[in-house]
Symmetry: C2
Subunit: 370 residues, 2 copies
């Protein structure tokens, strides 16, 4: 068992709250009790699962833990972005209060990024913080959202305005859990892995390109390996900049300046997050070319890779002025100019605050087909 | 200015989130800008004040900051225990959202312990954590609640079930702000200072006894000095055990096992916190005598001191069985027997888990006059 578990180890993330293991593999839900022991987790488990999952998947997690003697309470929630709010959080608190959740107990999120944000925030704040375990069930959560300890809920006035940095004690990604994920969500998930390659690891990018067929069809070991390498990149970044105070973690925002603006201006209803980021990466890549940071060739390669994974690269019909304004409100919360993450080579990114608005405007015009 | 400010320094608390200064003195609100600078605080200030304070006190804080160029937004709240809930928190979040509070801004609590708990939790969670400053306006908050980074709100099912450890960047206690505090609350506040002497510093206890007249009448420099020494004791304890994982911080619970039970069984409506703790200290002191840990003399001395400060030492009419049951539900959340903090000398405390229920019952019977 130990040898197998270590083969699945993608990263050990170091944080001020302790270190945690991230394991990725196929059919590894059964190693949960072993991983709990390694993480020093005891007490009862409070498993909060996305109600859209097949009940058999939820039962598999619960029964694995119960068989190992871990008392496991289960609740299911609708895990949509609209439900990631104070009201749902209050519902989770009431459940924990009814069952008298204690300081030594553990909250487990079984779902995508939204679920992880909400359950993670509940874990950060219940009794001033209890242990938290992530079992992501979407590709986007496996390669990105489950790592780094950011938890949050939305307010009516904005996304993720309330939250905490609360590190998980374990992240366990079992590819089996992706089996029921809609294909569009799967494709969207690859956007963040491609992003990790583009900004920090050219070799990863090449391997994603060379194995695109296997990855799109979720072929087991190759897919697990690529996810592990993508996880390792994000793990390095968040270990180096746990509280997002430095510049390192900002690199992960490649494609997100325009991506967030697109999501907000379509009220999060038109594009999946990875799709909006793909379009945003095309904008940031084009800016990089125009500023002479990368060649046209590199941008074409980025375009080909995104297209290969069925990701959009244009956002027809949106409004340029609105998008530009939204990038500025991003700016305001950092007290300076818009911070653009740009490529300055394949596998290499840089931060620039001197991108002319005129240039951004003409590039966004092209993206929306104006 | 610097010499004066340092004379007011009660403690520098070391935490994983950085260190912070605790200053105590008379007429020191005006040193706020200087203390902000020392703490590295910039950005706007969001001042949340207890609506029971005189408007002139709130304006004094606001105008001091504004005069130093700190943009300061002010809101007042009803700061009762009943209002320390998700609904009030949500109201604070909406205010911050409307004013577009940013990561570099600071939340200031101007009020007692309840206000500090609520505003501290808002600061812990707004944008995943912003700077927090405590300006306590009750004696209990000055000597106790403002230190240690515990923040929380209540749920309908229990007190302080949701919260975070979020350290302040500065605690500034100006005795001027106590001028309007009701005498009963003032007396209640001394209970925690007396407790600090009893469990950890016999010299402090002796000085409190010797200066009781000056302290009760809030005579300036002597009062400030005693508060500083009480603060220094708590600061040592919370620095050594930031997250309440060890045994050190538990010592601060002297008098709280029965104290909390008394508060809960009277629905927090009969006794002030310090009053309930005073009665609880009499129970714990009596147990200490019966177990042969301290002499009857020491208990008499504790009784005399509490009485001198007008604190109650009996709780007539309560129900012994209910109180005992409530001490056990305290126990459950620590997965073992009831943890009693007992005296084993003046200025020295110890933790015992082997106190016979029979003994507790007969002592509580005496306290309630059964």
């Amino acid at each position: 068992m130990t040898a197998k578990a270590d083969a699945n180890l993608a990263a050990v993330v170091e944080t001020t709250q302790g270190s945690y293991r991230v394991v990725v593999g196929q059919g590894i839900v059964e190693s949960l009790p072993e991983e709990f022991e390694k993480a020093g987790i005891s007490g009862r488990a409070f498993l909060i699962a996305d109600e859209a999952l097949f009940p058999v998947a939820v039962r598999r997690v619960q029964e694995t833990l119960e068989a190992a003697g871990v008392v496991t309470h289960v609740m299911t929630l609708h895990a949509g972005e609209q439900a990631k709010n104070l009201e749902t959080l209050s519902y989770v608190y009431d459940w924990l209060a009814d069952l008298r959740g204690e300081r030594g107990d553990t909250l487990i999120s079984l779902g995508g990024g939204v679920m992880g944000d909400l359950v993670g925030f509940a874990a950060a704040t219940w009794l001033r913080g209890v242990a938290f375990v992530q079992i992501p069930t979407t590709l986007a959560a496996m390669v990105d959202a489950s790592l780094g300890g950011k938890t949050a809920i939305n307010l009516p006035t904005g996304k993720n305005l309330v939250g905490a940095f609360h590190q998980p004690r374990l992240v366990l990604s079992d590819l089996d859990l992706l089996a029921t994920l809609p294909e569009r969500e799967l494709r969207s998930g690859w956007a963040e892995a491609i992003k990790h390659g583009l900004i920090l690891d050219n070799q990863l990018l090449e391997d994603i390109e060379a194995n695109s067929d296997s990855l799109i069809s979720l072929e087991g070991e190759k897919t697990a390996e690529i996810i592990r390498r993508s996880v390792a990149i994000k793990a390095d970044v968040v270990s180096a900049d746990e509280f997002e105070r430095g510049e390192t973690r900002i690199l992960l925002n490649y494609g997100h300046t325009i991506g967030h603006a697109i999501e907000a201006s379509t009220s999060y209803g038109t594009f999946l997050h990875g799709e909006a980021v793909a379009i945003g990466m095309m904008a940031a890549g084009r800016i990089s070319v125009e500023l002479g940071l990368i060649s046209e060739e590199i941008l074409k390669r980025q375009h080909a890779t995104l297209t290969r994974f069925g990701l959009p690269t244009l956002a027809p019909g949106l409004d340029t002025t609105e998008l530009i304004e939204r990038t500025k409100s991003d700016k305001k919360s950092r007290g300076g100019a818009v911070q653009w993450v740009l490529l300055d080579g394949p596998g290499h990114a840089t931060i620039r605050r001197d991108v002319p608005e005129q240039l951004v405007r003409s590039i966004v015009d092209d993206l929306i087909g104006a």
